[in-house]
C-alpha cells in the first residue's frame, strides 16, 4: 500500500495538471472557437520569377478550392494592428496572410515543434514575440531556442551524428552551403516548395524579394535554405571625430593625405596610429584607433575565415567568392576542392594570407585596447559603443540595435548616431573584381530525416517569421533586412539617418560583393575548428605567422584528403604536392610576394558610398 501512495499521488498531480491545462487551453483558444464563419476570397498571385510562376501554377489549383472558414479573432487582429506595424502590406493584405496561416495550420494545431538559432536581437524577437503570435494565430506551439552560434553548428552536427531529433528546423548561417549541396542531409527549400510542402507554401512568400537567396543556392541551382536575417561586416568609424577640423589638419600634415574613409589597409593603419598614438586622448579619455578581438574561442576563427583573407586579396577575382581560389584559400576544379596549401594550388599559406594575418596581429598589438586580446567576438561587440574607439575595420551590422540605444556616448541627442558604416578598406593584394567583404544570412534549414508533419509545421513557422506581414517590423527591431520590399520602403528611408549608413549599404550594389563563405568549403562544421585553433597559436606566439598558416593549410589539406573517401557530390580530389613556385608563377591566386607598400588612400564618405 505504501508503494501505491506515491503512484496515486503522481496520478492525482498529473490529472490535476492536465485539468488545469485544459482550462488554460480552452481559455487561450476560446476566441478561436468562437470565431464567426466567413469566406475569404481566393487570391491570385503574380510573380515574375520562375519560382514565382511555379508557385502561381501550383497555388491556383488549391487556393481556388480554399474557402477560409474563419476570421481572425480580436486577439489575433491585435497582433496585426499593434505588433506587426509598420508593414509593406496593407492591413487587409496582412489579414489575408494570417488567415492563410491559420487555415493551413489547422491540421497541426496543438503540435509542439522545436527550432534553434543563435541569440542575436532578431532571433530574440522571434523567440519571445513572433513564436507567441504564431501560437495565438495557428495553435502551433513553437519552442524557439536561442544559443551561441558555434553551438547551433554543433547541435546540427550532433543531430546528424546521433540520429536523434534535437530540432525540427535550424536557423544556421549560409556559410554551410558548400556542405549542404555536397552532403545532401538537408531538404532543399526548392524541394519543399515544389514537392514536399507544396500545399503549405505561402502564396505571398515571394522568393524573388529575398536579397540573400544567392547565398543559399547551391551550384546545382537548388535553394537549400530560406533567409531569415542578414548582416554584413563593414568598416565602422566615428564620423564626428573624422569631421573635426583640427584632427583633419593634423592628420593631413603628418600623413600627406586627408583624413577620411580608408580605401586601403595602409590608410586604415595610418588612421589607427593617428588616434591611438598621435591623438591619444579626447576629453581626458584614452582613445584607440582600432578595435578587435583575439581570445582563443570559436569566434576567433570567424574573425579570419569570414572573408578577412579575401579583403587582403588572397583569393581570385570572380564573385561571389573568387574562382578558382576562394577566401579560405581553397582551390576548386570542376566543383571539386583540390587543395588549400600553395603546394596543392591553394593560397591559405600564400604570401597574401601571411600578410593578412600579420596585419591582423600587428594592429591588435599596436593600436587596439590591451584588453582586446582577451575578448571574444561577443565580449568585444559593445566596446566601440563605449565611446573611445575611432574606427573598427571588421564590424558586424547585427550590432546596429546595440549601438543606437538612447543615452550611449556614441549617440546624438536627436537620435542620430555619431558613427557611420562605410565600405571596408582592402589589402594590397586586392584587385577590382574580387570579393570585398563578408555578408551572411542566417537561414532556415530542414534536415531530411525530420518527420513530415513536424517539418511542415516548422516550415509554416519559418514562413511566418519571414512573411511580409512581419518582416519590416522585424527589420526595424534587429536591423538584419532580408527583403528588397522592406529595404525600398518609405519607412526605411525615414529610418536611414538613424541607422548610420546601413540602409545606404543595402540599397547599393555593395551588397552583391559582400558575400558569405562559398561552395569551395565542403565541410564547414568539420573544418571551421581548425581556424580558431591555428590563429590562437599564432596570437599566443606559439607559432610564427608563417608556421601557423603552413600548419593550418596542411590541416585543411588533410581534411580534404579524408573527405575523398566519402561518397560526396563534387567531393574533394586533392592535387599532389609540388614546389610552391610552380603555382606562384601562374597567373591569379596563389599570388607572389608583393614586398612594396602602397600609399594610404582615403575618400570623403559620400564618394566612398558612391563607390558602392
Amino acid at each position: 500500500m505504501q508503494k501505491l501512495i506515491p503512484l496515486l499521488n503522481t496520478s492525482i498531480v498529473i490529472i490535476t495538471k492536465v485539468l488545469l491545462r485544459v482550462v488554460v487551453s480552452v481559455t487561450l483558444s476560446t476566441a478561436v472557437v468562437a470565431t464567426t464563419v466567413s469566406a475569404v476570397e481566393p487570391q491570385i498571385f503574380d510573380k515574375a520569377d520562375p519560382q514565382g510562376k511555379l508557385l502561381v501554377n501550383s497555388q491556383l489549383d488549391h487556393t481556388q478550392q480554399d474557402t477560409y472558414e474563419q476570421q481572425l479573432n480580436p486577439q489575433q487582429l491585435q497582433w496585426l494592428k499593434s505588433e506587426f506595424q509598420p508593414s509593406t502590406l496593407s492591413l487587409a493584405e496582412q489579414k489575408k496572410e494570417m488567415l492563410w496561416f491559420q487555415h493551413k495550420a489547422q491540421a497541426f494545431k496543438g503540435m509542439e515543434i522545436r527550432v534553434v538559432s543563435e541569440r542575436i536581437n532578431t532571433h530574440q524577437y522571434e523567440a519571445n514575440v513572433l513564436a507567441k503570435a504564431f501560437f495565438d494565430i495557428t495553435g502551433i506551439h513553437v519552442i524557439h531556442e536561442l544559443t551561441n552560434e558555434d553551438d547551433v553548428i554543433k547541435k546540427f552536427s550532433a543531430q546528424l551524428m546521433t540520429g536523434q531529433r534535437l530540432y525540427d528546423a535550424y536557423i544556421s548561417d549560409s556559410d554551410l552551403i558548400g556542405s549542404h549541396f555536397r552532403q545532401q542531409h538537408v531538404m532543399s527549400i526548392t524541394d519543399l516548395i515544389n514537392h514536399h510542402a507544396k500545399d503549405f507554401t505561402l502564396p505571398t512568400l515571394d522568393l524573388s524579394d529575398f536579397i540573400g537567396l544567392a547565398f543559399t543556392t547551391g551550384p546545382d541551382g537548388k535553394i537549400y535554405q530560406l533567409p531569415d536575417q542578414q548582416f554584413a561586416n563593414l568598416y565602422w568609424y566615428r564620423s564626428d571625430w573624422f569631421a573635426n577640423s583640427d584632427y583633419q589638419k593634423r592628420f593631413e600634415s603628418k600623413y600627406g593625405y586627408p583624413l577620411g574613409i580608408p580605401q586601403n589597409w595602409q590608410a586604415y593603419e595610418d588612421i589607427a596610429n593617428f588616434f591611438t598614438n598621435d591623438i591619444g586622448e579626447i576629453a581626458g579619455t584614452k582613445v584607440y584607433g582600432h578595435m578587435d578581438y583575439a581570445k582563443s574561442d570559436p569566434s576567433l576563427g570567424w574573425r579570419i575565415s569570414d572573408a578577412w583573407l579575401s579583403m587582403a586579396g588572397v583569393g581570385d577575382k570572380g564573385l561571389p567568392n573568387g574562382l578558382p581560389v576562394d577566401e579560405w584559400g581553397i582551390r576548386v576544379e570542376d566543383c571539386r576542392p583540390v587543395g588549400a596549401s600553395v603546394e596543392r594550388g591553394g593560397a591559405l599559406n600564400s604570401p597574401a594570407a601571411i600578410y593578412a594575418i600579420e596585419k591582423y596581429k600587428e594592429w591588435l598589438i599596436k593600436y587596439a585596447p590591451p584588453e582586446a586580446k582577451q575578448l571574444t567576438f561577443s565580449e568585444s561587440g559593445d566596446w566601440a559603443a563605449k565611446g573611445n574607439i575611432a574606427q573598427q575595420i571588421f564590424w558586424y551590422t547585427a550590432f546596429v540595435p546595440d549601438y543606437t540605444k538612447k543615452g550611449l556616448s556614441v549617440m546624438n541627442n536627436d537620435g542620430t548616431p555619431k558613427w557611420r558604416v562605410a565600405p571596408s578598406p582592402v589589402g594590397k593584394y586586392w584587385q577590382k573584381g574580387m570579393k570585398s567583404g563578408y555578408q551572411d544570412t542566417g537561414a532556415w534549414t530542414f534536415l531530411n530525416h525530420t518527420p513530415e508533419e513536424n517539418q511542415i509545421a516548422a516550415w509554416l513557422y519559418a514562413q511566418f517569421v519571414v512573411s511580409k506581414t512581419v518582416s519590416l517590423k522585424k527589420t526595424l527591431v534587429g536591423a538584419t533586412p532580408i527583403r528588397q520590399s522592406d529595404i525600398a520602403s518609405d519607412i526605411m528611408t525615414e529610418q536611414a539617418p538613424y541607422l548610420g549608413g546601413l540602409v545606404e549599404f543595402y540599397r547599393s550594389h555593395a551588397r552583391d560583393v559582400w558575400t558569405p563563405t562559398g561552395t569551395n568549403v565542403p565541410d564547414y562544421p568539420g573544418m571551421a575548428g581548425y581556424w580558431w585553433q591555428a590563429i590562437s597559436r599564432i596570437i599566443e606566439g606559439e607559432l610564427s605567422v608563417t608556421d601557423g598558416m603552413n600548419a593550418l593549410a596542411a590541416q585543411i589539406d588533410q581534411h580534404l584528403i579524408r573527405l575523398q573517401d566519402q561518397d560526396l557530390i563534387c567531393g574533394p580530389k586533392v592535387n599532389k604536392q609540388v614546389k610552391p613556385s610552380i603555382w606562384l608563377n601562374k597567373p591569379g591566386s596563389p599570388k607572389q610576394l608583393m614586398p612594396e607598400e602602397v600609399k594610404g588612400k582615403t575618400l570623403p564618405f559620400e564618394e566612398a558610398i558612391n563607390a558602392w
Partner: protein, 245 residues
Amino acid sequence: MLGKKLAYLLLCVWYLSINAVTSVSASEITVYTYQHVPFAEQTDAHHQGMIIDIIDELFTRANMEYKVIFNPLKRGLTMTARDQNVCVLPIVRTQQIESEYRWVGPILISRYGLFSAESKSIPLVTLQDAKHLSIGTYLGSGISEYLDSFRYQVQLTNEDGLNIKKLDRSRIDLWAAELISAKALMTQSKMQLGEPELIFHTSLRAMACNEALDVSKHQALVNALNEMYQDGFMAKINLAYGASL
C-alpha cells in the same frame, strides 16, 4: 663483490618495476564523474548508470585503460584542467568553454524543463513568459548560466533536489531541471510535480578532457564514439535508460 652485484641487480629490478608502473599509470586515463542519478551513481559496492556503461564501452573500444572516480563536478573540472590524462563527464559543451578542453561527444543529449509546484499550473508559451518569475536551479549548472545570461531571476541551491522543497514552500515559482534527473529527484523526494510547464532548452553533454591529451588518444576515443553511434550501441543504451529524445 657479490653483494654489490646483487644490490645493483635489485636496483635495476626496482628501477624497471617503477618505470613499468609509471608508464602504465601514464597511459591510463582517469575519468571523473559525479553523483548524477540516474546517469552515474556510486553505491557502496560499485558504480552504475548510463554514463558508467558508456565509459566502459568507449574505453574498451578505444583499447585504452581507465579508472572512474566520483567527485563533485567542480573538483572533476579542476583535476581535468590540471593533468594531461584526465577527463570529466558529462559536461555541457558550449562555445564559451570549447577552447578549454579536448572534447569527446555528444555522450548525452539533454532537455531542460520548467517545473511548477504540485498544486500550481503556470502556463508558459515562451521562455520569456517566465521573465517575471523566480527560477530555481543549482550552483555550477550549465542551465543556471544559460538563464542568467538572459537575465532571468535565477535562485541557486547547492543541491538540485532542494529546489523541489523550495517549490513546495513557494520560495521559487519554477524549477529549471534536466528532465530525466528531475524525475529521479522527484522519486527520491517522494514528490511528483507532473510534466514541466515548458521544455525550453536542449544541451549537448560530452566528455571534456585535458587540452593536452595526446592527439592519438583523443582521436581513438572520438572514433570509438562514432562507431558506437553507427552500430546502434548508443541508440540502445539511450532507449534502455529512457534517455532518447
